[in-house]
Amino acid sequence: MDLATQEGEFLVLLGPSGCGKTTLLRMIAGLEEPTSGTILIGGQVVNDLPPRARKIAMVFQSYALYPHMTVLKNIAFPLKAQGLRREEIPKKIEWAAALFGIGHLLGRKPRQLSGGERQRVALARAVVREPAVFLLDEPLSNLDAKLRASARDELQQFQRRIGTTTIYVTHDQIEAMGLGDRIAVMQGGRVRQLGTPVEVYAEPADTFVASFLGSPPMNIVEAPDCLVGFRPEHFLPRDAYDGGASLIALGLRVTRVEYLGADRLVYGVLEGKFQGAKVLARLPSTVTTPVQAGRRYDFAVPEKEMKFFDPGTRLRTAARSV
């Protein structure tokens, strides 16, 4: 694996559980030793440095707040450990607390805080000593869904404001797409693709990336000499397209329709060219064509939205005619 962050970047490590993303993060932090290879922070090889000497800050999935200390002491902890002068500490704490709006919580113990407050305290503790790199290990996964959206927003704003290089581990593609400047999609200890959210979504490097990103995932059907992929949202009834783009027409026998409000999910089996392949179409509510289960419809995919993969290596190959 070869992965370099850019200065001030928000890099997301995304992958299913067990893909090695947390292990990678822990190696960067110095909590685990790589069997081979080098890790550089700010151009300096840090393999032999203990975690405390790496100028990093980490926010754990569990937040790891020290339960026997008040919020104030939690935030002061890294400063004291660094041997900062006593009179400078309150200033720094004030700054970090203001950054996250937790000034009123300083006297409390972690157990008296809500999930969102704990997360902010954990972030404040990480920010307070102004690290070279921020490491975040699924910091939002303990929050409920409603809080998560606003926490995501806060997190990004704060990262933009302080401009510290950030490495963020998650298995949640929405977090990854929403937060990352770039995303490293990982599987089985390897980086499958590194790119901006647009790149990894629109131009997946292999079938894993194609089917891991997107909800529902990309349809992948077998052609005689290659694999063909297309996103459910590009697979619409023929009459939803108004000419212009060159289309690939596909017959679809609909087996089930799910109405989800903003869009409809249409499950079906292809006819004709990819006979028998199960596929999924996602029709936005702006497409009003009536679709019923048990009937056959003419669907189509714009030709440029077709992605081709090698059936052996499962890597992306050049576009070809279908």
């Binding site: 932090a29 110095g30 909590l31 203990p50 975690p51 405390r52 790496r54 990093i56 800050a57 980490m58 754990f60 999935q61 569990s62 937040y63 790891a64 707040l65 020290y66 339960p67 026997h68 902890f77 890294p78 450990a81 660094q82 113990k109 972690p110 157990r111 008296q112 805080l113 999930g115 704990r118 503790r125 000593r129 303990n142």
Partner: protein, 283 residues
């Protein structure tokens, strides 16, 4: 219909209180028994027709007088606390790092090693005092309280190591790792974060060690010969049981005075520290 849930709730609460009452009586009765016996006249104790649960004759301080003036009870108490304190210190110095190491650093091997260490606790002193007495003689510690200071850790350390191992395992690794990233070495993280969180465990170890030391009998009986070096557990039965004559009042007074501090420690500290001490660390 409306009345039924109320009846059921009352019955439930009654059962709850009844159960608590039962346990309270069960735990408190020995103390009550020791306390009333302490102040009973011997004739009151021995007369068969008397109600044993109350005073049939006026209470007396005679038993306490015997305990404090006719025996070396105060000296024995001092001896017991002297040995107890030193053994607690030795136990903490050895068991805290050992328990932590077993919980964290050696992985699966640590678990087996922990069990093996615990097993040594199960070898009874009645078996070990024979080789131990040779050792004590070689060290020249016969009839000295130091012999107990040296020997007692042989059973307190294994048990407390095992106990602390459990406590340390319950502390999330994240906390230490956070402290290591925040600027401490592993040792620093241990001292600054793990130890303060484990106060409950360490307190348990202290109380447990004190209890073991106070009740230990075999080693104290075999290694100590002079009365002024006795601990409470040996002194009281040796001097207050003459053949088949039991000085019940003084015996009970001796036991009561020795057991109260431990009971107080248990009741007032352990609960408070265990409850919710680690709450809020994670999740």
């Amino acid at each position: 219909m409306a009345a039924r849930p109320t009846v059921r709730r009352l019955a439930g609460r009654g059962g709850h209180l009844g159960l608590i009452g039962l346990f309270t009586v069960f735990s408190a009765f020995p103390f009550y028994w020791m306390l009333i016996t302490t102040f009973k006249r011997t004739s009151d104790l021995l007369k068969r027709g008397n109600n044993p649960f109350v005073y049939n004759q006026p209470p007396t301080l005679e038993n306490l007088r015997v305990l404090f003036y006719d025996t070396l009870y105060v000296q024995w108490l001092a001896n017991t606390f002297f040995v107890g304190l030193l053994v607690v210190l030795i136990t903490l110095v050895l068991a805290v790092p050992a328990g932590y190491a077993l919980a964290r650093l050696t992985g699966r091997v640590g678990e087996h090693l922990g069990i093996a260490i615990f097993l040594t606790y199960l070898v009874p002193p009645t078996l070990l005092f024979i080789p131990m007495s040779r050792l004590i003689a070689d060290l020249g510690l016969q009839d000295s309280l130091w012999s107990l200071v040296v020997v007692y850790p042989s059973f307190t350390v294994p048990f407390c190591t095992w106990l602390l191992m459990g406590f340390f395992k319950a502390i999330p690794r994240d906390l230490e790792e956070a402290a290591m990233i925040d600027g401490y070495s592993r040792l620093g993280a241990f001292v600054k974060v793990v130890i303060p969180i484990s106060v409950a465990g360490i307190l348990t170890v202290i109380i447990f060690t004190l209890t073991l030391v106070m009740q230990e009998f075999v080693y104290a009986l075999t290694f100590i010969t002079a009365a002024r070096h006795f601990t409470v557990s040996v002194g009281v039965p040796t001097f207050l049981v003459h053949g088949d004559v039991y000085f019940w009042g003084s015996l009970m007074a001796g036991c009561f005075i020795a057991s109260v501090p431990i009971a107080v420690l248990y009741n007032f500290f352990v609960d408070r520290f265990i409850a919710g001490f680690t709450a809020g660390a994670i999740k």
